[in-house]
Amino acid sequence: MSRTRSLIELEHLSADEIAVFLKLARRMQSGQPKPLLRGKRIALLFYEASTRTRVSFEFAAKLLGTHTSVINATASSIEKGESLVDTGKTLQALGADCIVVRHPSSGAPHVLNRNLQVPIINAGDGMHEHPSQGLLDAYTILRHKKSLKGLRITMIGDIQHSRVVRSNVHLLSKFGAQIVLCGPPELLPEHAGALAPGVKVSRHIEEATRKADVVMMLRVQKERLAGLRLDANHYIAHYQLTPERLKLAKSDAIVMHPGPMVRGMEIQSEIADGPQSVIEEQVHNGVYVRMAILSICLGVQ
């Protein structure tokens, strides 16, 4: 039994710390699940809609022998009164050993972490980070590529509003990947290039996909556009991943998407369901990666 820890962001983890998560995820996938966390109580506090992340954490927690409880709050229920801090303190007082939180406000897991003693796992906070997705994406890439170092990894679409991008960029940069971010100016500010070393900004999908090892597509997050109007036809014409554009990537390139996908918008169905797509595998791997996260954060490895 080692110390418990929170997992809030990948930005401040070292490559070695990240490697520990990936290594344990491989062990989780290769063996039969063991009830390493038998009797522990995991609270899944979701202030935002989620299917795959919530179920993935829930399955992962149950496979490790824990009791789970899902709390579906909404931003509007906070308006009614109880603060995030008080909700967190309540869960802690009820005996939660760990809180997995998804929240529309960037930084919300830090608020819990500063006010509580139990480990906090960030399941996605606003536009900030989604560390479990970043880890499972790296895990998935490594099942197809020998190493992350030197890979050309392109992320296309709504960069501005994507917590998946921020987690992925921080992680991949630490392992020496070359990262290309591609999207229109309103969804990809120029200063995004300053996020981490080795990040380039491109406005042209052809340039961005050329010779790519990994092409990661992103949904336009309509719920976060805050009044910004986007011309869907223009977006499709310039930023949709089509078979022609994918041909510019390396022949063994893989196509990823954190979901949920909007087929016909950022990606064509024949690519999403095609031989280069690893989209379903990402979801599948998520369970093992989250088992690793829960084990490490609860101090059981």
Binding site: V85, S106, H128, R166, H191
Partner: protein, 429 residues
Amino acid sequence: MRPGTLAIRNGLLIDPAEKLEGKYDVLLKDGRVIEVAPHGKLRGKADESFNARSLIVAPGFIDIHVHLREPGQTHKETIASGTMAAAAGGFTSVCTMPNTSPVNDSAEITRWMLDPARGAHVNVFPVAAATLGSRGEQLTDFAALKRAGAVAFSDDGKPILDDKIMRQTLAAASALNMPVVQHAEDCRMTVGSAMNAGPTAFRLGLRGWPGEAESSIVERDIRLTAETKGRYHVAHLSTAAALRAVRKAKRDRLRVTCEITPHHFTLLDEEVGLYDTNFKMNPPLRSREDREALLAGLADGAVDCVATDHAPHAAHEKNQEFDRAPFGITGLETALGLCISVLHSRHNIPLQRIVELLSTNPARVMNLQGRGTLAVGARADVTIFDPAKKWTYHAAQSYSKSKNSPFDGRQLQGKVMATVVGGVIKFRE
């Protein structure tokens, strides 16, 4: 209690309004300065003496931008607690913003704030709302508010956005020779914004607050000031672009002034850390380029005043998600220390200029007759400070009811040693 005579001896007097700097003693009686003379040469007798050896003796500091939260939000601050914090920070007068609850948009509320029953420790000068309820629709009764004691008009906390209303405000205030204080923020550009637009906001996934939201309003207002021949003051100016507009207006001889807060000349947007809500204020902390421009303006005279925008909030209100937490930080007790540490020690701005920014100019901007100077006949408001003394600010020990300061635990140089209001020592270190 009728104050006796108080002599302040052996200090270094700095009174920019009188272009006086040197070894002078000051004698105060009946709420006025009655004599200024070289050390040891006062002719009048004093009941009490204050030895200001190796200290600076300055006309009382005036903070033209504070939120004392009363009426309505007394869990954050009261006029009594806020003015005690002011006294501890060397401020002998404060101008209180109208975004109380209810909004100070009537003579009745203005008079209520000025009632001695509020227990103010320093002089309070209310800034009244420019529009009813600060809703930006209909002007308040400027003449009645002035008679009740208001010194300026503002919808601070919100901008006066509508062109027509702003034009009317400037014209009506100008007829009374009073300034209009603008909170320059085009809210259409700041929906959901929590910090300055830039690499740090992108990294933290926070919506960016563009500098243009400030400069575009300042530019518009300056055009209207020229049109109406009004008096216009920019509150908490934070961007290089807005300062450029103010500089040009001054060259054009318009009656345009501005203030800068200690936090905007000290901190940068990138210092927000891991969503520390004590670094969240409106306008937000800006980029390095902006801060450099502000420091240049503070040094060369383009900036008129330092004002704190003292904005107290209860701990539980700040202990929230960053985008939900209220804007604002306390500032009264750290202002001088930051002026000395940052402006004087680090950027070589002379003490005489700092007194100008904290006293001489604020009195001029707000028409506070007989203040901002220690000339014979002036009000007996004096700030005595030690520009060399190093100390550590602990928010928990603040006189303010609220402790929301980004400077908690920071070592500062420059300490207020005594604050004299109307001839009475209200704070003594």
